[in-house]
């Protein structure tokens, strides 16, 4: 049985964050010559960054899985009797938008007021998903700023918390042909034809009929993107059993906007 190594971050003189073996990430502080105090901060495998501002400390760390690194963030506050975890705290309803698999968390301002979160949809599994997103498969990517408000960090989004989860997720999804195809098929499968139409290049209802005729609205079927010699605007995808293969083409009206379907058909 081996235990993991040592990861150490000197936040300032006589204030250290340490990951020691397989034990939690812990904060050590005190006066040299006298054993330091210790506060186990969080589970986690590696320390990325830490920032001390006044009596508060933001710590960016990560969990390391078999194939992925998942960064996370924790805010501590120093009090008379030691350190206390401030964020995240239960309940954190907005945390369903905290998606950092294979991504990054960084300080987006000079203090602790703003965090940037980037991540992929790896591990975000739902029955509504039209695609099987294995780790080596195609993914959606998310990019989101989290702003400090009091003792909380809240995502900079427009949709309210009570909006449907997938709509909120779509708001933070980075534009890509795959993301649009994923969302188009998902909407189709849940009967949201109006929503699916928003992802079609020209208001051409026949593309929805075309997809329906191909059975792409069947929620029981799961697809996989095929990696092959396709142009950026073209995606090949197949059923999981590879029995059927499809092709979708896209355009991006302008930089930063969602990619839109121009055609979809079986090969």
């Amino acid at each position: 049985m081996g235990v993991m190594g040592v990861d150490l971050l000197r936040v300032e003189l006589s204030l250290y964050l340490a990951k020691f073996g397989l034990y939690p990430i812990a904060l050590f502080w005190g006066q040299a010559g006298t054993p330091f105090d210790c506060y186990p901060v969080t589970e986690g495998d590696v320390i990325f960054d830490a920032r001390l501002v006044g009596d508060e400390m933001g710590i960016i760390f990560a969990y390391i899985g078999a194939s992925t690194v998942t960064p996370d963030f924790i805010l501590l506050r120093g009090e008379e009797d030691g350190w206390r975890k401030v964020w995240p705290s239960d309940p954190e309803p907005w945390r369903d938008l905290w998606k950092t698999a294979d991504g990054d968390v960084s300080f987006a301002a000079g203090d602790l007021s703003l965090l940037r979160m980037e991540g992929s949809s790896w591990g975000v599994f739902s029955e509504e998903d039209p695609f099987f997103e294995c780790h080596a498969c195609a993914h959606r990517f998310f990019d989101l700023l989290w702003e400090r408000q009091g003792d909380k960090y809240l995502p900079q989004v427009t949709l309210p918390l009570d909006a449907p989860y997938y709509d909120r997720l779509w708001e933070i999804t980075q534009p890509s042909p795959y993301a649009s195809l994923f969302e188009f098929l998902r909407r189709l499968r849940v009967g949201d034809e109006a929503g699916a139409l928003e992802l079609v290049a020209e208001v051409e209802p026949s593309l929805l009929d075309q997809a329906g005729a191909l059975g792409l609205d069947d929620p029981a079927v799961t697809y996989m993107v095929e990696w092959g010699p396709a142009a950026e605007e073209t995606l090949l995808f197949s059923t999981e059993d590879l029995a059927r293969e499809f092709m979708a083409t896209f355009i991006q009206p302008s930089e930063g906007e969602d990619w839109l379907l121009t055609d979809i058909g079986e090969r």
Partner: protein, 349 residues
């Protein structure tokens, strides 16, 4: 007076477990007490009813420990100015560089100390080194000795000794009934190392100047005999928790024969009163303690000594001058020396 009542009238005699010449003691050594025939089966009620010891140390661990428990010969200058063997006892190597923990009375008044090591449990120990007393505490009857030369008197390079050693455990964490395995060289055990088993039968505490209670004795029902002095009492985790020091013999007043005995161990935590332990050494010990728990897959128990080690290490003044990489590297080395088996990120197998 009934026979049973007669057994209840007892005289207590505390016997130091040193073998050989033990001036002033009521029980002559090395002639052992014929306890097997003299102690009645219906002994007075013990402090704790001994429970059968199951499990215990695995055979491989016992072989390893056997090599780290040494026999100590106390040579003293005789009346003609010639060094003669005066007594013998046991000791435990607690550092690969040849630090041995034992009782003070084992090494008391020695003009020289010879250290015998055993290569296997069925082989008698062979004198291989000479040692010197480094520190001692008479009140707690503990001493730390250091191997300084080989048997020919040639100085040894401590860093090259790389002797088998036993990590120090935490005697304050012992509980009543915990299993103990005793290693040593009792005179009654023949020439080879002896192992006896028992449980923690009780404690005796005293109060420090700061009015904190401190365990000064661990009582055990394990069989101890002269020669066991200074040896090793280990838990099932293979860490040293006690130093066999005394037996208390209960003597029937009418018969004058021993009717029971209770062994006494000095808790290993008292070692800190013997020597001013260097902080880095304490870090090593804490890491060794954590390593012992890790070997048992008891990571919850290992966390505390691991964090204590880190808290102490990071407070060392030299740390301020070191880079993060240097600190991490030294921690890795210290852990490795203490028996940590470092894995890689993302894997604990």
């Amino acid at each position: 007076m009934s026979k049973v009542r007669g057994y209840l009238l007892l005289t207590f005699i505390f016997v130091l477990l040193v073998a050989g010449c033990t001036p002033g003691l009521a029980i002559p050594s090395p002639t052992p007490l014929p306890t097997a025939t003299m102690i009645p089966t219906h002994t007075p009620t013990p402090t704790v009813v001994p429970t059968p010891v199951s499990g215990g140390l695995p055979a491989e661990e016992i072989r390893r420990i056997s090599k780290a428990v040494v026999q100590i010969f106390n040579f003293q200058t005789g009346s003609y100015g010639v060094e003669e063997p005066y007594s013998m006892g046991s000791g435990t190597i607690i550092h690969p560089e040849g630090q041995i923990l034992t009782n003070f009375h084992v090494v008391e008044d020695a003009s020289s100390l010879a250290i015998a090591l055993s290569s296997a449990p069925d082989r008698p120990p062979v004198v291989a080194y000479v040692a010197e007393v480094v520190e001692y505490n008479i009140s707690f009857d503990l001493a730390l000795i250091q191997i300084t030369a080989d048997v020919d008197g040639e100085p040894v390079n401590k860093s090259e000794l790389n002797l088998p050693w036993i990590p120090l455990g935490d005697s304050d964490s012992l509980q009543l009934g915990d299993a103990l395995t005793i290693f040593g060289y009792p005179a009654v055990g023949g020439e080879t190392i002896s192992l006896t088993k028992g449980v923690v039968s009780g404690f005796e505490t005293e109060y420090t100047e700061s009015e904190e209670s401190m365990r000064v004795w661990i009582k055990t029902d394990a069989s101890l005999n002269p020669g066991n002095s200074g040896g090793a009492a280990l838990t099932d985790k293979g860490v040293l928790v006690g130093i066999p020091t005394l037996i208390r013999l209960d003597i029937g007043e009418e018969t004058g024969v021993p009717v029971g005995s209770m062994g006494r161990l000095r808790p290993v935590n008292l070692v800190d009163y013997v020597v001013e332990v260097q902080p880095l050494e304490i870090v090593r010990r804490l890491l060794a303690k954590a390593a012992a728990f890790q070997e048992e897959q008891d990571f919850e128990a290992a966390q505390q000594p691991a964090f204590q080690a880190l808290a102490l290490y990071l407070s060392l003044p030299k740390i301020e001058e070191m880079s993060e990489e240097e600190i991490a590297d030294e921690l890795l080395s210290l852990g490795q020396e203490a028996g940590w088996r470092w894995g890689s990120w993302g894997s604990i197998s």
